[in-house]
Amino acid sequence: MNRSFIHQDQFLYLKIALGLCLVSILLYAVDDPVGPPSGNSWLGYTLGTIGALIIVWLVWFGVRKRQYTGTRFSLTRWLSAHVYLGAALLVIGTLHCGFQFDNNIHTIAYILMVMTILSGMIGVYYYLTIPGLISANIGNANAQQLNATIDQIDRKALEIARQIDSFVHEMMAYSIQTTLNERRPANKKVVMDMLNFGETIKEASKACYCSLTKEEPIRVEQPVILSKKRAPKDPQLVLSAIIIDLSFNRSPGEKLQQLLDLINEKAACIQKLHLDRVYNSRLKIWLMFHVPLSLATLIALVIHIVSVFYY
């Protein structure tokens, strides 16, 4: 259903919506109402009735999408019509009120309707792009599997780090501790810290290699993580300790390489996890706006109708 709702039935619902808009504009242009154009004319009532029926039908989509049984009017068709008729409502609703806006509940109802439609347009963009991005990011996996993978990596990395050096273990434990609580919710900064930590280890291993082979030592830049609040108080000392330990070859190089591989693997997983959460959060936040706005619009519509006939 990803993109099919856009061109469902050869854009049938787009054509219907455009036709509806054109007829409304045409009627609005030729109508000669009593006083200025407003909802209080035969055209105003006509457009208002059509708009109200469309709103009720649009909101009913929330019920329809939970009915999983197949009908002649498939969910894709329903969604396609939902999108296009919802957009047409922008024209119909505006012509209904005759561009009369004031500080009253009718204008508030109109604003709610416009906000709902605009949020719906954002939703269309999201649903056209985000599912593809999610698939490209984690493939067939899911967030739970990624978390389990990261836990496994953490345990392996800690075990290898312990075998390498206590300082390396300490740093690794710290980084895991940092990411452990922060893994839910996702935090981009933690991911960056992890990557920087990986870079630190890489730089340290290069320095180690240089000292062992008597080559010119490579200057180790202070990594970002060590300047952060969560870094150990004396990062230079930590780094120096790692380098010295590695320089005396107290840890085997193979283990170090395994650790680096695990760190990189974890960083990649966290990056995927983070992006997955970002994408899913966007959809959730969108729903958090669109659904309440839709219901608020429906309620405001009922109040609008009641108040119009109240006096």
Partner: protein, 609 residues
């Protein structure tokens, strides 16, 4: 120090005394190594990760990290940190929650699960606690409760509060005087559109007009509360109009459309509802019906509007003028009988001018224009009434006796002529010239004003009395003299002293049901509409007919109310006939009309179809 560490207790379950680790030592070490007091196989822990010991003389405990990266207290990495109740010490998945010391132990803590630690830590994370809590709650938030919240909020703000304000004036007053957001919740926020500027003073008082409550139209009585003297459209009794056929105020006066809009003035259809066949609603009305397809096509106004009907002085009964409505295309009856004779616009408006009486021997040419006599009134709507003394007497002097050529009769009161003459002749020698003869006019011009001769009358005859002489001269003045030059004299009895003239009565308002402003039409000039250059008779009606108006006014730029008024009937006010007590006796209208019963009702002239 005495330590007591609780472990293995399940939340909500009775405390298990055996699940306590109690010991006495200088410190409590945490790590993977078996010689620690608290040993954890947590892979995140170092062999010796941290140590808890007394904080010193001040009491309490503190924790010191044994690793360079520090130990995590309340989510923050610390080298050394004092511990207070409810702090969380974390080593990987191992979490220790500090509790308040009891009388027997200096340090009490419990080992908690990562989930418990996560919940407790929310309160200790950096940043504002409330914001952290809100963030955590937002993260857990689901769509459905948010949607319900939106529904309830919308109902509250847009329905419950405004509806309450409708019935609680104090709340409404409070909301109306608040911010724009609060005004949007007041009772007026239900207003379907702007109130017209005519009602702007009561725009915020819905109950002033909506007196009958919800879901009902504004009743007419609400309008009459202020507009109590508003007049009916026409005399209901004369036309026998069905009162239930009368439109409501709100049918024509629609509020809440725009701030400058109240009357459906541009709605021809509104008037046609009744006037297409007026007899349906007013059986005795003699108004002409308007074709149903009056509007909608170009210049239909010109082709479909009935010819204008003038309300003109058509005849006199003694000195009482009769006003009759005559169609402007009814040339046979379209004659004004004002009581004036001999007047000709054509003669007065000669292009070469007319001889003026000024100078007496130096007569000059005077060129008259329309405005020489017809002066617009102060409002620029109509014309000031003509007065003999101001507009006529300069030329038409009331001299009456050729032997007294400078003496003039009084004007305006025919009954004063006989006493005047009697007094005049009583003081004059019989048969003699009263005044010296005037010098001959240069052009030998005869001034307007017929003087009568005394031929046949002999003042020396002793049988001729002053009364008899005066009666004879009175007879001559009325019948042949200056009076009959402009007026129609008549004698209601055989008594000569009773000579009178028909009192002129000019039609002051030719189209009493119409609105017209001369000032607005001044650019077309008088003769652009009034064809007076060829008018030779005072009976000529020189008022423009429909064709003259429709040269400019058609259905596209005109409507009924452009020319017609609505609330014009002088007999009733609407309140009195519809809602108030029935008017017992209709006051007679002391207007100038007798045959035309009232405005808007045509009483055709005799013979008029």
């Amino acid at each position: 120090m005495k330590f007591r560490i609780r472990h293995g207790n399940q939340p909500g379950q009775p405390e298990d005394p055996s699940a306590h680790l109690v010991f006495e030592s200088d410190s409590l070490r945490i790590g993977r190594s078996p010689d620690n007091e608290l040993v954890t196989d947590n892979p995140y822990a170092a062999d010796y990760h941290g140590v808890i010991r007394s904080a010193g003389p001040s009491g309490g405990a503190a924790i010191e990290s044994m690793v360079l990266s520090g130990i995590v207290v309340n989510g923050k990495s610390r080298k050394i940190a004092p511990l207070k109740p409810y702090d969380i010490v974390s080593v990987g998945h191992f979490h220790l929650r500090i509790l308040a010391p009891d009388p027997e132990h200096d340090f009490v803590a419990e080992i908690i699960t990562p989930q418990e630690a996560h919940e407790h830590l929310l309160a200790f994370h950096q940043g504002n606690r409330t914001i952290r809590w809100i963030k955590a709650k937002l993260h857990q938030l689901q769509v459905r409760p948010v949607a319900w919240f939106a529904v309830v909020l919308t109902l509250l703000l847009l329905f419950i509060i405004p509806l309450t304000a409708v019935y609680v004036p104090s709340l409404n007053h409070f909301l109306k005087n608040g911010s724009p957001g609060m005004r949007a919740m007041s009772a007026t926020s239900w207003s379907i559109g702007p109130v017209s500027r005519y009602h702007i003073r009561i725009a915020d008082e819905c109950e002033q007009c909506h007196t009958d409550g919800a879901f009902t139209d504004v009743p007419d009585k609400a309008c009459y509360a202020c507009h109590e003297d508003i007049r009916h459209h026409f005399n209901l009794d004369v036309t026998e109009t069905k009162k239930n056929e009368m439109p409501l105020c709100g049918d024509c006066h629609q509020e809440h459309l725009a701030d400058n809009f109240l009357v459906l003035g541009d709605r021809v259809e509104q008037c046609l509802q009744c006037h297409t066949d007026i007899t349906q609603v007013a059986p005795k009305s003699k108004l002409q019906s308007i074709p149903e397809d009056f509007s909608g096509e170009e210049s239909l106004f010109a082709r479909k509007h009935p010819e204008f009907v003038a309300a003109m002085v058509s005849n006199h009964e003694e000195d009482h003028p009769i006003v009759t409505r005559v169609r402007m295309d009814d040339k046979e009856h379209l004659k004004e009988h004002s009581g004036l004779v001999g007047f000709s616009h054509k003669d007065h408006l000669k292009k070469d001018g007319i001889l003026a009486p000024d100078g007496k021997g130096g007569a000059e040419i005077m060129k008259l224009e329309c405005w020489s006599c017809h002066k617009p009134d102060d409002q620029g709507v109509g014309m000031k009434p003509l007065k003999f003394e101001d507009h006529c007497q300069r030329c038409h002097q009331l001299t009456f006796d050729e032997l007294a050529p400078s003496t003039e009769l009084p004007h305006g009161k025919a009954e004063k002529i006989f006493p005047f003459l009697k007094e005049f002749y009583a003081g004059s020698p019989k048969g003699t010239r009263i005044e010296p003869p005037s010098p001959p006019d240069k052009n030998d011009r005869e001034l307007p004003g017929r003087m009568v001769s005394r031929g046949g009358l002999d003042f020396d005859d002793p049988d001729v009395t002053l009364d008899g002489y005066t009666r004879e001269m009175t007879q001559r003045v009325f019948e042949k003299g200056v009076c009959s030059e402009c007026h129609q004299p008549f004698k209601p009895s055989s008594d000569v002293s009773e000579w009178r003239v028909v009192k002129p009565k000019f039609t002051e308002k030719w189209y009493p049901a119409a609105k017209f402003e001369h000032q607005a039409h001044a650019i077309y000039g008088c003769t652009g509409c009034h064809q007076v250059e060829s008018s030779e008779s005072p009976e000529d009606v020189n008022i423009p007919a429909q064709a003259s108006c429709t040269e400019c006014h058609d259905a596209d730029n005109s409507n009924c109310l452009k020319c017609h008024t609505f609330h014009k009937d002088p007999h009733f006010n609407m309140k009195g006939t519809r809602f108030g007590p029935k008017v017992e006796a209709i006051k007679p209208w002391h207007g100038n009309s007798s045959a035309g019963q009232t405005d808007g009702v045509i009483t055709p002239a005799p013979g008029h179809p």
